[in-house]
Subunit: 478 residues, 2 copies
């Protein structure tokens, strides 16, 4: 819709910067860059540019700066908050990092990997494994999300509990700044306390302060033993108590502690109709421990669970007997997310609270939906070990998309109110993007707003980096 | 020397802000706030103010802002880089946090502790232990350093390997901004991805962007088992290879991996003349593993070391048989630092390199000292698991302090050149302060300088926060 603004001169300058094959301007060529994975968001762009080197990223940023064009950095486009989709279609340029996709270095001796921002997360994980190392970031989207996007959005996932968010896994960044200059923040050091830690600015900034072109990552020894258990519990309270005991009993050998309300199992059946639930209980827990071969992890887990069953905290427990068995457990967790997507539009949230407040969050949210939005189906699951619950709500059959979205906005607002009243967060791991920035901004204290604005102004005074994302738009749509 | 500038009006305003007992202006009252632990630095101040509440910190900051007075936030004064000592004595005001010393909350269920900035680190550790939790930051100075200073300087220590720097242990901060406003960044959440992570700005900023008044910390399960070994090895190469194997063999159950050149043992003997070295080898390693009671850590360590001795990597190995025995091993590590202090002035560094470059760093540094500064005594020890070597150099007997300091400056510069040539850091954990800011600044790429300056300008436009620290001074001494 904005192609008419693209003059021959601008097109020619773009082609000079990234080559003809690096420029997409037709609707069909741009299509895959203008809609996100969830199907929830579509946007517009003046052009999609695909630089093939860091120097080309710099050239494109300088060109956009000279023309006053907004820049939307884009990775694998698997985010859920329209962080890389210009839903207001204000004539910005999408810069896709997909052609910057080289693993630069795997230094297994020092447990360091360097990669271009456009490397797919799975490729990073595979390259680490090939050197008998682990890069622990693990997400449903790992086959298509890009490591630069993971850094820019501070991605979370199922192993945060043990290894932290993307922020905790990054040793260094390479960033093209809004003026086109390159900041080389690679150092290869495990410990470096030379002044302000500038990489922290860009991690989680969602492309609003610069374009990440390269990442330097921490690798870990690959755990030689992994034990996986699928548990049935009576309540969310029991799950939280179990987690607390497990942290102490294992001294933090837990690598995942996922919680699944039993209502979610029907969603997983949309992907695998024959799926049999491993347990029959209101609340399921998928728990994973990992360690080196020198630790008898199986005995540790068996002893711990025996105690938990004896004390009545755990009702049913299944231990994976093989890798395949463990994968089948994980397929339930992954299937319920895919199953939701098959249901089309639904309310997605990404709430976090203090871990001990998880039961209150789920109770209040279920009560709210039942009372004020009867017929809508709540689904509660998430990374309980991080206090992070994806409390999602499926619309009843028969609603039009417009009706569902309107009502969905009310439900979302109600769930945010509940999270806020518990001192929680409306974005535990997905970020703010364009779909949450109003709720985000409304919830900020004045001092916090001033700091956010001052940072943005200091680094991107012209406001060209990912306009409309994270911060409230500074310009209005023409 | 600057008391004459303190008019009765200003003094009276200061007393209104913090009460009479909160103001020190005489040389004797100010003395302990104007010299650091090492004895290397002394500075001056117009006054030392000791606010007893967050509101009093705000009042003091507003007063200094109105008067255009520089502000030097000060914790336990145990830093080594003159970060809280105005060595140029430019008439700033020291704000000591020592009266803000309350543990605000220990939430063992959620593994969270909140404390005033002025709490001594040991008090934080004790409060955690009282709830059967661990706060893992561990420094020689933990009996007097303050947790706010640990946050402001992103302190390191002996357990970084397992638990990270102060940055990694902080969930939230409370900060009085340069305009006197309070930013409340406590949230109690393990996971929160709402936009820019503002606390990262203040961690490691050495008081140049605001005054930390409160910290919210991550606690951990207290490891029920700790095993400690003292090892003798032939070389730094062997120590690095051993570390690499140990990471894999234990899947990161190592909580400390300290390296000590055998020459340092004589320093420890300055503290305990009867000290017998546990091993006779060129390089000593103090290695600690920790885990829950469910892990047979002793067997794991014995097996690992047996293999390492069989392969010839380790020459001698002693396992601690009791807590007292382990403490005796640690007393060597702590004693050598105290022993150095007894020697008076010496060259102190805090270098880091890629772990695999540790042998090159030590070789080149020793060679440089032997060749260009014969008679000076190099001491190499540090946190090898982090790539962090304190390569210190003692002056020969008979030099005057002035002669030693002049030559010491040359030696320091030479050691920085070696670290830089290996792609290393001149400050792994101690920070920049006033003693390293010229070397720091000289080593920065232009894009990095611009970012640092832009941040400082954005948050502290009047340049009143810790002037002369970290950044080059913006004003000249009158």
């Amino acid at each position: 819709m904005t192609v008419h603004r693209l003059s021959p001169e601008i097109l020619s300058a773009m082609e000079s910067a990234v080559g003809q094959s690096g420029v997409a301007i037709s609707g069909s060529d741009m299509a895959k860059y203008l809609g996100d994975w969830s199907g929830d968001h579509r946007g517009g762009a003046l052009a999609v540019l695909k630089p093939a080197s860091v120097a080309e990223v710099q050239a494109v940023v300088r060109l956009c700066g000279a023309l006053g064009l907004g820049i939307i950095p884009q990775g694998g486009n698997t985010g859920l908050v329209a962080g890389a989709i210009d839903i207001e279609a204000r004539g910005a340029v999408v810069i896709s990092l997909e052609r910057l996709n080289r693993i630069r270095l795997v230094d297994a001796d020092n447990f360091v990997l360097q990669a271009d921002a456009g490397c797919v997360l799975q490729a990073v994980k595979d390259a680490s494994e090939a050197h008998d190392c682990l890069f622990p970031l693990a997400l449903g989207a790992q086959g298509s999300c890009q490591i630069g996007g993971n850094a820019a959005s501070n991605a979370g996932g199922v192993n945060v509990l043990r290894y932290g968010m993307a922020r905790d896994l990054i040793l260094g960044l390479e960033v093209v700044l809004p003026d086109g200059e390159l900041w080389d923040g690679f150092c290869g050091l495990r410990k470096d306390n030379r002044g302000y830690d500038l990489k922290q600015l860009f991690i989680g900034s969602e492309g609003t302060l610069g374009i990440i072109t390269g990442v330097e990552l921490k690798l870990f020894p690959r755990p030689a033993r992994i034990e996986t258990a699928y548990l049935g519990l009576a309540s969310f309270e029991a799950a939280v108590a179990l987690f607390r005991q497990a942290r102490r009993a294992t001294a933090d050998l837990i690598s995942a502690f996922e919680i699944i309300g039993s209502e979610c199992i029907d969603l997983a059946r949309l992907v695998d109709a024959d799926l049999a639930s491993p347990v029959e209980a209101p609340v399921h827990v998928l728990m994973e421990l990992s360690a080196s071969a020198a630790v008898d992890l199986r005995a540790l887990l068996v002893d711990f669970l025996a105690g938990a069953m004896e004390s009545g905290l755990v009702a049913e427990a299944l231990l994976a007997d093989s890798d395949g068995h463990a994968k089948a457990f994980w397929a339930i967790r992954e299937g319920l997310v895919e199953g939701q997507a098959k249901r089309g539009y639904h309310v997605r949230t990404d709430l976090s609270v203090r871990i001990s407040d998880i039961p209150a969050l789920v109770d209040q949210a279920r009560h709210f939906v039942a009372l004020e939005h009867p017929g809508w189906l709540p689904q509660a699951y998430g990374h309980a070990g991080d206090g992070n619950i994806h409390f999602n709500v499926l619309p009843p059959e028969g609603l039009t998309v417009v009706e569902a979205r309107n009502r969905g906005a009310d439900i979302t607002a109600g769930l945010y109110r509940i999270a806020n009243s518990l001192g929680g967060s409306i974005s535990a791991e997905h970020g703010i993007g364009r779909s949450r920035h109003r709720a985000f901004w409304a919830g900020l204290a004045p001092a916090h707003r001033r700091l956010v604005t001052a940072l943005k102004q200091a680094l991107d005074p012209d406001g060209l980096m990912n306009p409309g994302c994270l911060l409230p738009p500074t310009e209005t749509v023409p």
